[in-house]
């Protein structure tokens, strides 16, 4: 095969369909990134944490969606609510810790309240403004507490009791409308018994968030993983389905992983999640950037927080069953870590892959084609997942993924 000069390199092969490649500017252009925050990230339901991270009334977690700081709190009524973590007074973060309990006394406030440390305004667990310091003296009758509550966000606790939040009040869908079609394949496994998070770590990688999502949804990169080459390459493996679901989500599953073929592997059959046949797995990639990966004995959930066109934070969680004995839990943790832990076999390689792509697609770099043209009857190495994702992306952005300067709607006509 001859190498190509600039003109040849920049001309797509005639045989490639318009949906079989994307233009790298969708990964590198800061203006497109800003538009994605508005049109996609601020409009979607996102799983932000698990309810076991705030198990008791008054427990909270702090998070971020599309640069907006968010506070998730369990009320005395046990209901989990989400608020902007922004004080209505002068815009300070109300809570700065990653997690904790509002039952504890705070330096400038009272127990059972969220207190903004700056000027001591206090809020209850429903977001009502409960206290304004020297209220009458300063605001007389012009401003009242009832007009100064927190901004509440739509929040649902569902699908294995994950906490889902959307910034969009006008989003008419429920989480079930949004993701139910894709998560149906594992819903009974997630909901059979209470789950508990046992693993958390984060990575901040110099790459576009979609490149990480693509890596979760394309399995052709099995070639990067020694573990997959040795355990997975069987006829049953190549027959696994790769199925597009509504709203841009994709599901890949299920086959029997032959763990014992890897020298350090062990069958995980006996600790399979409730209702999940031994050694099976499902990978559910949720638009625009979350992933539920149920593999035998452990559930991994990745949640992305895009920080800029070329930087993404990925949070990695591992979950088991709340009722696990100490010994069962430890075995689940070992299973989880061997492949997916920060010192495990595959995660390290996956992150190297996307860091390498990120290095070659920096903002301002030359536009190039990224090919997603594999067709294999919608089985595991078929790139239908990425094509499906970019169809949804194109619709939401009204930009053509293979040429983002063109309108998606016009190109579709």
């Amino acid at each position: 095969m001859p190498s190509r000069n600039a003109a040849q390199w920049n001309t797509p092969p005639n045989s490639l369909r318009i949906d079989e490649f994307v233009d790298s500017r969708i990964y590198s252009d800061p203006a497109i990134f800003e538009e994605e925050l508005e049109k996609i990230w601020k409009k979607s339901w996102l799983p932000v944490c698990h309810e076991s991270e705030l198990p008791e009334p008054y427990d909270f977690r702090t998070l971020t969606i599309a640069r907006e700081p968010i506070l998730v709190v369990r009320g005395p009524d046990n209901k989990i609510r989400a608020f902007l973590n922004v004080c209505p007074h002068r815009g300070m973060l109300i809570e700065r810790r990653p997690s904790g309990s509002f039952l504890e006394n705070q330096a400038s406030g009272n127990p059972k309240h969220m207190t903004c440390m700056f000027h001591g305004w206090q809020f209850d667990m429903k977001g009502n403004c409960a206290m304004i310091t020297r209220e009458k003296e300063g605001y007389q009758d012009r401003l009242s507490r009832k007009d100064l509550g927190l901004r509440e966000l739509r929040c649902e606790t569902t699908f294995g009791n994950f906490v889902w939040v959307t910034l969009d009040d006008n989003n008419t869908q429920s989480v079930n409308d949004w993701a139910g079609d894709a998560l149906a394949c594992i819903q009974k496994n997630l909901d059979a018994e209470p789950l508990e998070v046992f693993h958390y770590h984060k990575a901040i990688i110099g790459t576009n968030y979609k490149l990480w999502h693509d890596t979760n949804s394309e399995f052709y990169h099995d070639y990067m993983h020694y573990f997959n080459r040795i355990t997975g390459f069987t006829p049953e493996y190549f027959a696994r389905k790769n199925v597009a679901h509504k709203n841009g989500h994709v599901v890949v599953g299920t086959f029997e992983v032959q763990y014992e073929k890897y020298q350090l592997g062990k069958s995980r059959a006996e600790l399979s999640f409730p209702g999940l046949p031994p050694n099976q797995w499902f990978m559910v990639d949720l638009f625009p950037g979350a992933n539920f990966n149920l593999r035998g004995s452990a559930l991994r959930v990745d949640v992305m927080t895009p920080l800029s066109a070329d930087t993404v934070m990925i949070e990695f969680r591992g979950l088991g069953l709340k009722r696990d004995t100490a010994e069962e839990r430890m075995r689940r943790i070992e299973h989880h870590n061997s492949i997916w832990g920060p010192f495990g076999r595959n995660l390290h390689e996956d992150l190297l892959g996307v860091a390498g792509q990120g290095s070659a697609m920096l903002p301002g770099s030359e536009p190039r084609r990224i090919i997603q043209a594999r067709h294999e009857n919608e089985t595991i190495h078929d790139e239908v997942g990425m094509r499906h994702f970019y169809q949804e992306w194109g619709r939401r952005m009204n930009r053509l993924p293979s040429d983002p300067t063109r309108k998606y709607m016009e190109a579709a006509e």
Binding site: S52, E53, R61, R97, P98, S99, V197, F198, H199, Y200, H201, K202, A203, I204, I205, G206, M224, H225, Y226, F227, Q263, L264, R317, M330, I333, E334, N337, G341, P342, F343, G344, R345, L347, H348, E349, L351, L352, A355, G356, S359
Partner: protein
């Protein structure tokens, strides 16, 4: 009976020797410092989920197998180098075992993890934590029976395939 200076020094020597061998990728020699029932774990506390976590664990045999398989895996080859200070060595009353606390910083000397033209040669702080070691003293020839690497670091951008 208070432990002798020599006993304490022999424990410190073993810890520093382990650092040197790990720095130099002499993993087989490192395992030679460990008894046959040696166990290793990387652990951390997460204030996010308010739980103690295990990020990696293995016994001597599993570690040996893993280290043998490393060349078959793709890896960020940026070498890791330690700076360690033994803060405390406590010998038990029988004089047979000891526990040590070592503060450790591990630096990554960038090589091929991102874009080597730009990053190679640069040093980045990789992790911060402590080695919590347990020894069998064997009358002056201590062997590791347990190492817990307790990390403070929970942002692990690309983690590592190598023991810390």
């Amino acid at each position: 009976m208070p432990a002798s200076r020599d006993t304490i020094e022999s424990v410190k020597d073993a810890i520093y020797k382990s650092c040197l061998l790990l720095d130099d990728f002499k993993f087989k020699d490192w395992l030679e410092l460990c008894d046959s029932d040696f166990t290793y774990a990387i652990v951390a506390y997460s204030p996010e989920i308010r739980r103690d976590m295990t990020y990696f664990s293995g016994d001597r045999k599993q570690l040996a197998t893993m280290l043998d398989l490393l060349p078959k895996h793709n890896t960020d080859h940026s070498p890791l180098k330690r700076h360690a200070t033994v803060y405390d060595v406590a010998v038990d009353d029988s004089g047979k075992t000891a526990e040590a606390i070592t503060s450790v910083l591990i630096y990554q000397n960038m090589l091929d993890g991102i874009n080597s033209h730009i990053d190679a040669g640069e040093n980045r702080l990789f992790v911060v934590g402590r080695y919590l070691d347990t020894f069998r003293l064997n009358g002056g020839a201590p062997k590791f029976v347990r190492r817990h690497v307790r990390l403070e670091t929970r942002r692990l951008d690309k983690g590592s395939h190598w023991p810390l």
